[in-house]
């Protein structure tokens, strides 16, 4: 009876079972496919890493012993025995012995190298290989300054099997998956053990997941905790083990694992973890540091060593104890490591969002955002961390001081600074505002403001180029009224509402006279002035209103730097460059951005103008600069103030750098600050920190130096006139002389000789006498 009833339910059950098995088989095969296909062609999402320019060392390089040590510390070299390994230096007074790390530059991969360096109180005095032979030039590691990771994106540094230290290999297995080498992806004992431990503790104290399961979870699956997902994870783990070696799985795990969060940036893998927490390559971590990283795997946010140092320390010590119990290290080493500090690198510091913003914009012309975020590119930039730090500090200190002195309450001044090397066009520092740590409004690149008198050098250069004017030519500073196209009357005034009459061009520029400049510019023609601005590097043609001559044209600090680079560069336009080269993930060059120079203006005219611009900083509106720079440093520059003092500017150059500073309010209200009061101190303090050489251009053969009276423009000598200034004029120019003063019978034999510095010194002497 029972028999006769059986077929009635057995058949559907059988069919159901077969269908279920078939479905499971299909599912397993599908998961197998997914695992093999995706893991085989695994491609870590590696954001582009951005490097600053390496510090070049050579005999005479302006790097003092203390600077060198500071730089080594910035690169996280530690003091010790340099024969012990890379990343270690020893200092005795000015003598350094160091073992440089293995490092990739744009043009070479350098293996660890030992060098001996001697540094004095202001420069490098000797440089040698370890064997004592001379080394002409040596560069330190290019510092990493960030990565171009996507919003809410993963950041990582991929390790190859050879990069994994043995203690990490055995330690991670010990702490996370003891039976890793035996199981086939899922560890039944481990699950039971975890279950038992959890039951005893009545909470989850252990997870039974193997490393393989954790990898599968992170790599293939979402974060939800359902039975179905657990089953999928187990099957995938088994299939992964069936197809790939333990070694491949372990290394993949070490690259995938999540180790912390830095704002929007997720820290993945031990390679980046080591750099993020300790600023050292993994190979240089000591036992305690490695134990901390391994301990973090359990809960990167719970054990976050920056926020919960006590928890992190306890976790590290537990891991060290386990290491010792398993004889991975001896117990004295464990005790010593447990007694040491966590060794974290100081937070922040090298993060430079404003500069990275410029890098990103330059790269966007050539690369898709997705490639930058994932393709593992290495981006070598021109950033000089020392210049960046100097500019950030100069802006912060001065804005604080200016805010305190300001009568405007409830609003903070803002500012921007850009520093570049004029010859190469390399941008070495970008400060986009007083809050340097955030990706906020980047005023250096995006604040487009009227440039005020920064435009005037273009007017005077136009004049010099005609050959009809020189620095001594008298021009008329007198009231002028113009009827504009819209019928209104434009009547510009000087800043102090004074009228100066006939003045030499050099003085009109140095003292930034509006009336004289407008008259000169109208005489030359607005289109001609606009042409000059464009050939100097302004990309969009300015509107041809007469007010162009007083700087109603709006420019960003970056555009101003481009224009002033041509003046700093003797009339050659060097295209500004933030990125020097991009290498692919294997270190092969993908693209290099070369130094680009083009003739922008006649060198002789630019030389004459530049000499006039040095008078701005000695006799004119920019004379406060001298007090902030090392004594005797020659600089050239120009103040700029837009109408109602809404914008305070200073742009100028030394022998090594061209820089621009801007100070103003974001809502465009009046600051009450001239260019000299607001931006100039920021500019001068930045350059004062950079040990910048004096501006000493090579004099073109077509010009010669002469002395004139600053007030009357008549040729004179320093002995004869207290206000004698040195200018450059075309060779053989006839200048009217001061009666009884021309030492020269031949007209121009009184030309002073020597460098610009000598002349400035001579001028200082005339003041003293």
């Amino acid at each position: 009876m029972a028999r006769s009833r059986a077929p009635r339910w057995r058949l559907p059950l059988l069919i159901g079972c077969i269908a279920l098995l078939a479905a499971i088989a299909v599912w397993v095969v599908y998961l197998d496919r997914v695992v093999t296909r995706e893991f085989q062609g695994r491609h870590w999402s590696v954001p582009a890493r951005v490097f600053a320019a390496p510090l070049e060392l050579y005999v005479g390089a302006p790097v003092a012993a203390d600077d060198l040590e500071e730089e080594l510390r910035r690169l996280h070299y530690r003091s010790g025995d340099p024969s012990a390994g890379p990343g270690v230096y020893r200092r005795h007074g000015g003598a350094f012995d160091l073992q440089a790390r293995r490092v990739r530059f744009i043009d070479e991969l350098r293996e660890p190298t030992r060098v001996s360096i001697r540094a004095g109180s202001d420069s490098i005095t000797d440089l040698r290989h370890a064997d004592g032979t001379e080394l002409p030039v040596f560069r330190l590691d290019p510092p990493v300054v960030g990565s171009v990771f996507p919003i809410h994106g993963e950041d990582r540094l991929v390790l190859s099997p050879a990069d994994v230290p043995p203690l990490l290999r055995s330690g991670i297995k010990l702490i996370e998956d003891r039976r890793f080498d035996e199981h086939h992806g899922v560890d039944a004992y481990g699950v039971l053990r975890a279950l038992w431990a959890n039951l005893r503790a009545r909470r989850v104290v252990q997870g039974g997941s193997t490393l393989t399961q954790q990898l599968v979870k992170n790599y293939f699956l979402s974060d939800e905790q359902t039975f179905g997902r657990k089953a999928t994870e187990a099957v995938m783990a088994l299939r992964l083990e069936a197809h790939f070696s333990k070694e491949e799985i372990l290394v993949a795990y070490l690259n995938e694992v999540y180790l912390g969060q830095d704002g929007a940036r997720a820290i993945h893998g031990f390679g980046l973890g080591s750099e993020y927490y300790f600023a050292k390559p993994l190979a240089e971590l000591d036992v305690g540091e490695l134990a901390l990283l391994i301990g973090l795997v359990k809960g990167p946010s719970f054990y976050d060593p920056r926020r919960h140092a006590d928890r992190a320390s306890a976790r590290r010590n537990l891991v060290l104890q386990e290491f010792a119990d398993a004889h991975l290290i001896d117990s004295t080493a464990a005790k010593r490591a447990a007694a040491s500090s966590l060794g974290l690198r100081p937070p922040g510091g090298s993060y430079v969002p404003a500069y990275l913003d410029l890098v990103r914009r330059h790269l966007k012309r050539d690369y898709a955002e997705a490639d930058l975020a994932a393709a593992g590119l290495a981006v070598y930039t021109s950033l000089d961390p020392r210049a960046q730090a100097a500019a950030e500090r100069a802006l912060a200190v001065n804005l604080k001081r200016l805010d305190a002195a300001s009568r405007v309450r409830g609003a903070s001044l803002e500012g921007a600074v850009i520093v570049a090397e004029p010859n190469s066009g390399d941008v070495v520092a970008v400060v986009g505002g007083r809050d340097v740590g955030t990706d906020s409004f980047n005023r250096a690149l995006d604040a487009r403001r009227p440039i005020g008198s920064l435009v005037k050098p273009a007017v005077y250069l136009t004049a010099l180029e005609t050959g009809r004017y020189n620095a001594a030519t008298l021009i008329e500073d007198a009231p002028i009224e113009l009827k504009l196209a819209d019928g209104s009357i434009w009547a510009p005034q000087n800043y102090e509402h004074q009228v100066y009459g006939r003045v030499p061009m050099a003085r009109a520029l140095a003292e930034s006279m509006n009336l004289a400049t407008v008259r000169l510019g109208l005489d030359l023609g607005l289109p001609q002035v606009a042409d000059t601005l464009q050939s100097l590097g302004l990309e969009t043609r300015p509107a041809l209103n007469p007010s162009l001559l007083l700087g109603t044209v709006e420019m960003t600090p970056l555009e101003v730097v481009q224009v002033y680079t041509s003046l700093a560069n003797g009339g050659f336009r060097a295209r500004l460059r933030a990125v020097r080269a991009v290498l692919d993930e294997h270190g092969r060059p993908l693209k290099s951005f070369k130094v680009q120079v083009e003739a922008a203006a006649p060198p002789a005219a630019v030389y004459q103008l530049d000499r006039m611009l040095t008078l701005v900083t000695t006799r004119g509106t920019g004379h406060d600069a001298a007090a902030r720079l090392p004594r005797g440093t020659v600089v050239a520059g120009k103040t700029g103030t837009s109408s109602d003092t809404r914008d305070s500017w200073f742009a100028g150059f030394t022998g090594s750098y061209v820089a621009v500073a801007w100070v103003g309010y974001d809502d465009n209200r009046a600051t009450g600050l001239t260019g000299a009061a607001g931006a100039l101190p920021v500019w001068a303090d930045t350059l004062a920190h950079l040990k910048s050489a004096s501006f000493q251009p090579v004099p073109p053969e077509l010009v010669e130096d002469r002395w004139i009276g600053f007030g009357d423009g008549l040729e004179t000598t320093p002995a004869c006139s207290a206000d004698a200034v040195s200018i450059a004029v075309p060779r053989g120019t006839v200048l009217p002389g001061k009666p009884d003063c021309t030492a020269a019978s031949s007209g121009h034999a009184a030309a002073p000789t020597g460098t610009v510095t000598d002349k400035v010194k001579a001028w200082f002497n005339t003041l003293i006498h």
């Binding site: 744009i106 043009d107 002409p136 390399d426 050659f572 120079v597 090579v698």
Partner: protein, 180 residues
């Protein structure tokens, strides 16, 4: 990713140019038997890369004042230039260019380095940039006739590479007449 379709052509060009550059290298080969000169000697061959012999200049033009400057490379930049030549001889133009970049950062106002860079730009078939380098070098070589000659030669080559032969001839004739 980015491939250089003309890598072979570039390689060949590189070898050719390296030969030219090495012959005109301002860093002298070590000659232990000779007393070392105070400054690296200018190119002794005078071989114009354009192939034409420099016309002799018997011009009794008014002599400019004695040279006030003599440009030479520092030990650091000299070693980098030598390194760039080695890289170029190997055909690694990008690395050679980056190496000259380094030198330029150390001595940005040295016209000899701009001449090196301009020669490299010619190898890269970037005559426009070679011209820029030539003009920059010429401006910086003010007062140094030997370096000016080298700069003018570079400039003339760069102009000729842009089919601006008339300008090239003018630059060359300046080199021969104005300078002693």
């Amino acid at each position: 990713m980015v491939q250089h379709p003309h890598s072979l052509t570039r390689l060949a060009l590189a070898f050719a140019a390296a030969a030219v550059l090495l012959s005109g290298c301002p860093a002298p080969a070590p000659r232990p038997s000779l007393p070392s000169p105070p400054v690296p000697s200018p190119p002794a061959t005078g071989a114009s890369p354009s192939g034409r012999p420099p016309p002799s200049a018997p011009a009794p033009a008014p002599r400019p004042p004695a040279p006030v400057r003599e440009n030479h490379l520092s030990p650091a930049t000299r070693s980098l230039v030598a390194q760039a030549h080695t890289l170029l001889a190997r055909g690694d133009i990008d690395a050679a260019s980056s190496t000259l970049d380094r030198a330029l950062h150390i001595e940005p106002n040295n016209p000899l380095l701009w001449i090196e860079l301009g020669r490299l730009r010619l190898v890269e078939s970037d005559a426009h940039q070679a011209e820029g380098c030539g003009r920059r070098a010429l401006a910086l070589a003010s007062g140094d006739p030997a370096t000016q000659r080298q700069a003018r030669r570079l400039l003339a080559d760069a102009l000729r590479a842009q089919q601006r032969n008339q300008e090239a001839r003018e630059v060359e004739s300046q080199a021969d007449i104005i300078q002693p």
